[in-house]
Symmetry: C2
Subunit: 223 residues, 2 copies
């Protein structure tokens, strides 16, 4: 039994993959393959072959590839929320909490030994490379009702509450943090692939500085 368990809405799977050995192998191998070949190239057939199972078995856990991606990404946000809560235990000022949140979003994530079937670092790279694909679809409204974006919403709400402690007058905290979170992803991508869209050098320090300054300046109420 794991000490901690990230729970993902049951709308995000057909059959809970965390409950069986095959399910965990599907998760583990999906993460590995999706990072290697990208979402588009991945198929359930490839996952099945890689774990020496069958396509039909993978379909018992996830309706389709899109649901699998939504599952993984929600797992990631759930995980990040746990991490944030842990970190906040010893952080007292809202400024420090926001700074640390930005760091967690951008810095490479270590693997948690308690959850051997999920490689958090690899999963983070999947989120960077694939995240917008789960909401940029025609099914977004239906899937929103089913909780496909719950994890992201929660992170955004948490950061909003912290920001309002610094400046209760600030009008656009949700917009700000959805922007910050998505910039955290896209700047990582740009540094590696489209460097003209970023000023950051390799490594995460510049991105952290950029986002931290952006956040704190924007919510400050001077001027």
């Amino acid at each position: 039994m794991n000490v901690l368990n990230i729970t993902v809405s049951h709308k995000l799977y057909q059959k809970n993959p965390e409950e069986t050995d095959l399910g965990k192998r599907i998760l583990s191998k999906s993460i590995e393959l999706m990072e290697q070949m990208g979402y588009e190239q991945l198929t359930f057939k490839k996952i099945a072959t890689a774990i020496e199972s069958t396509e039909a078995s993978v379909y018992r856990y996830f309706q389709n590839k899109h649901q699998l991606l939504a599952y993984l990404i929600n797992w990631y946000w759930g995980w990040l929320e746990v991490k944030l809560a842990q970190e906040f235990i010893v952080l007292n000022s809202p400024e420090n909490k926001l700074k640390r949140a930005v760091q967690l979003l951008v810095a490479p994530m270590d693997q948690d030994a308690r959850i051997p079937h999920i490689n958090e670092g690899t999963l983070q790279r999947i989120v960077v490379a694939e995240y917008p694909k789960i909401y940029l679809t025609k099914e977004v409204d239906v899937e929103n009702k089913e909780g496909y974006f719950h994890g992201y919403n929660r992170i955004c709400d948490i950061l909003t509450m912290i920001a309002l402690q610094i400046n209760p007058e600030y009008k656009f905290p949700h917009s700000l943090f959805s922007t910050i979170i998505s910039a955290a992803q896209s700047q990582q991508f740009f540094v590696e692939h489209l460097p003209r869209l970023s000023d950051a050098k390799a490594g995460c320090e510049d991105i952290i500085d950029f986002l931290t300054e952006l956040t704190l300046k924007t919510i400050s109420n001077d001027e």
Copy 2:
């Protein structure tokens, strides 16, 4: 002959669609259908049927659906650059230029009567709903070399130059404007589909206020 002509890199098509009647019909109908059914559901067969031509003919203009999307999106950025240049004629302060740029990014675009085969308003909604899909692929590095992201890079460079007039010391102008541009898209999407990720009400005013304030506060060098 059109008075103005948006030029798109020849790597973004197989055969220039602006040069023939069929090509223009493909562009026109692609825009209409892609907005209606979304990128994923659109196929060359559907475009062909809708314009009473054949799949093979559409393939003569674009290698595949991805290239078509890249073409349309680059056309949009080229168009936006023209619009910006027009507006800047009568704007003198860099602050006003940035404010106007944000407005152009977010406010619904009117159709230009000189270019009847492209509905700029519809195209703008396609950009909002599909933009990240052109770079979030495993082919991004190759396609970057072929100029798939040229239009976006240019807009980002232009805004960077303006910001540096306000504060030549600001360290992250490219990062800032890639963030602002992508937030301009995603906030529009969130207001409509994922309202918990935004504080803006329907209509573009709130988004414009949010982005303008964010931009100006961030590049200011006080504090």
